[in-house]
Amino acid sequence: MATTISPALDTAFTIASREFRSRLMVGTGKYASNEQMVHAIEASGAEVVTVAVRRVDLDRSKEEGVLHHLDPERYFLLANTAGCYDADEAIRYARLARAAGFNEWVKLEVIGDRETLLPDVAGLLEATRTLAAEGFVVLAYTNDDLITALRLEDAGAAAVMPLASPIGSGLGLMNPYAIRTIKHRLSVPVIVDAGVGTASDACLTMEQGVDGILMNTALAAADDPVRMAAAMRLGVDAGRLAYLAGRMPRREVAVPSSPTSGMLGE
């Protein structure tokens, strides 16, 4: 199975002074079983895993909680505010997540529309400002708009997470130019979150120069999530290396790779 890229080929990246080696972050939702989730996360090589905050179902077994299956010593837990439709609600969920006692990080989502799950950027900015002032490390899920990304950075986001395409859509990277521009202009890390469908999407996304990718459905909804997790790990590494290597220029005409001299009969 794949290993992480050797330190000579890539560097670690840092969010809020915490160093990460794996540029692939994964979610924990929608797997057929907890066992499958655990195996897929292992195969992905991810260090950061996202979780959601929900009511305990008091009539069911306590095995529901994701921490009965994932070791919080081994993975860095990143709680999200998925399902929140305004700033106040997202702030409430972030505070609840922090009270769980693992860390002060939050993957902030303020959703603006149920059909597309696109972010409400006004609410997102407001919640980012409030939570950053309270000491949260805010990773803000946003659209691929440069100006919003710049405003989020100003508001105190520790990382900005533009989408490749809508959450759970698997449509891949819709606007490479927008993602590249955001990465070029921001000082904080850029982690593409949502929309990646398969390994080539992950590779193409990393080739834009972003710091990492967060995905969930692409693994959980694959026919074989464990294999797809391994493929995504390779895709992310390949894209990262290709970005660092610097691609050759595109040409509209062919250029032979073999010598044009020394042919027979010259």
Binding site: T28, G29, V51, A52, V56, L58, K62, L96
Partner: protein, 77 residues
Amino acid sequence: MTQTAAQRAAITVTVNGDERSIPAGRTLGDLLREHDLDPRMVVVERNREILRDRERFDRLTLEDGDALEIVHFVGGG
């Protein structure tokens, strides 16, 4: 305690959106044990205030009209 006295001593609390009648004098710790919940695995909000000190759960007596939210981490993206 007679049945009537017990009924008189019942209070109404809302737990995760469900209203229920419980005997007066129950603590939050009692409620969590009743549902086989490990206090370290949940976060509790009482009347919109997060209860950060888990050591206090056994001393926190529930009061009539309390609204509790008991949450934990589940799978998500």
